[in-house]
Symmetry: C2
Subunit: 336 residues, 2 copies
């Protein structure tokens, strides 16, 4: 199969964790031996092992037929373990990564340094790290004792789309507008989504810098907006409202250790962050010029519910996946 | 990787030809060698090579590094060619097929007989052929000189969903309701879909038994409903209307060699066939109890267009794919 085939497998895996890796990028890696796929793994959460490391540990487990006796999400232990393997352990393997391996030690050791020591046959990269100061990973890999053949630029546009939130939140807020709707575009009417979709929303709430909601949502829906389905702390809430006249006795204000801020302007969007917006038509219209991406959970039904989004917006579909019985559709706003 | 992984690759490929293989089922096959993927191929059109044959020819080309000098879609030539290969040519290969290989010679030679002679290591089947008289393919494969290890029932539910139209059109009409809408469920407003979506619609029109439209569509939209984007003949049109008062000078009636029938009842749906419905809200409501599947082409925009489908219907999403800039969403109507 082509390089594109393996990078596409990695892309599909990486999208499962889009947004959840904040402030890190979504990245995934595939390890093969003579064309046989040994591992497909994605980076899951900042501070834990990168995609390359998880894929190499998983490839080790496939090849050796035994499980490692530590948590592969622990980057330090995983790096150290991989470096104790015989020099030729991965020497017939190839690794496909959606993004250039990291060049410097941050919260976890450098993947480029690791790859420069493992003497793989091929390293195939979707896209070079476009952030100045983050690049150079490939040069490090190439300076290994027995450097692999290196290929750069496979499904580059798709890998760039995967990376877009990360690029944006370097400099300002990345604004992700999330909504749930029926297949004929109706919203509201209580819980629309499946348990699996709800858990995913709660993971995004847990990963984001803040959630942004409108004053009307607070007054009318009186939501709690916590992360109870995944047992994580509730995210910080920013309420965008001209007036601060909210009933402090509603559940939103009663969640332990939860910060709630009421703002009458959008200046906070200048700050590097991941902002998850949950709102209705009013919020969509008020925020429209600021929305980077839409995440639509589409429910498998047509309904006669009257609520819908009556606005004009041009999108580009980026990725779609089944989430239990629902569809999850990621799209970018274009031309705004 | 697991059997499920390879069958899923086959499923994704087969869905590209859903409906287009009428009256045959949509089927795809993957051939591997020591876990390395050599070929992923789908059956494309009735009367041409089945998925197994196309995948084996493609695997031959991958292994030998040379192209065959005939059209692989020609089933007779392909079968004969595969039987001239050395007995051990595929002996280390596995084949994954979404459906049990056909047991008897129809328009093309039997795939089960072919597989019984090729001496592969493994034959992995998504689902047994559920049609009485069509089964028995696996028994034939098992009776080969050096029979492969046979595994049956991998992603069975998904393989059954893929097969559903085929099962239905054995006994009555399979009714596929096609529509194009924006991401917020608005319809109308001229050409909504991309060139690639339009070509796909024209392929479905070419493959179906008849297209079904409502009288209002004829009177108001005055469509041509041909297959000009793929240079195929226009499909037979059935107009469902209480009255036959149509202006015979509109383009619909002027297409060469095109049959148009006006009916005031739905009795024709009792006949085994593939009926492609293109209509608006009126047709959707009139036909709702008869609709098996919906095919929604979703356009990457929100719009304020007033037309929408104001009805209640429960669906199950079956498959989604990007079609150029659009999404193509296949779903089954449930609970009707």
């Amino acid at each position: 199969m082509t390089n594109e085939f393996y990078i596409q497998l990695a892309l599909n895996k990486a999208w499962e964790y889009q947004g959840l890796t904040y402030p890190n990028p979504a990245v995934a890696a595939v390890v093969t031996l003579d064309g046989k796929i040994l591992a497909i793994e994605a980076h899951k959460k900042a501070g834990t092992s990168h995609a390359e490391v998880l894929a190499l540990i998983s490839a080790y487990e496939t090849l050796s037929g035994s499980k490692v006796d530590f948590d592969p999400l622990n980057a330090e232990l995983s790096h150290n373990f991989l470096l104790t393997l015989p020099k030729n352990f991965f020497s017939k393997c190839s690794i496909y990564v959606t993004l250039e391996p990291c060049s410097h030690k941050g919260k976890t050791p450098s993947c480029a340094t690791l790859l420069s020591k493992l003497q793989l046959t091929n390293v195939i990269i979707g896209i070079k790290d476009p952030i100045v100061g983050h690049d150079g990973g490939i040069s490090i890999v190439a300076k290994g004792l027995l450097p692999p053949t290196i290929t750069i630029g496979v499904l580059e546009e798709e890998c760039q789309a995967l990376l877009e939130p990360f690029m944006i939140w370097q400099n300002r807020a990345f604004v992700l507008f999330k909504l749930a709707q029926t297949s004929n575009g109706r919203i509201g009417g209580g819980y629309l989504s499946s348990k699996s979709s709800l858990r995913h929303v709660h993971k995004l709430r847990d990963a984001c810098s803040s959630m942004l909601i409108g004053g009307n949502t607070v007054r009318v829906d009186r939501p709690t907006l916590d992360c109870r389905f995944i047992e994580a702390d509730a995210p910080k809430i920013i309420i965008y409202s001209k007036e601060d006249n909210f009933d402090r006795d509603i559940p939103l204000f009663k969640v332990e250790n939860r910060e709630v801020e009421v703002v009458d302007n959008l200046d906070f969007l200048d700050k590097p962050s991941l902002i998850l917006v949950e709102g209705g038509e009013g919020m969509l219209k008020a925020l429209q010029k600021k929305i980077d991406w839409m995440l639509i959970y589409q429910i498998p039904k047509l309904s006669t519910h009257q609520l819908s989004y009556n606005t004009t917006m041009n999108l580009a579909f980026l990725h779609t996946a089944k989430k239990d019985i629902d569809l999850m559709i990621w799209s970018r706003q274009i031309g705004h």
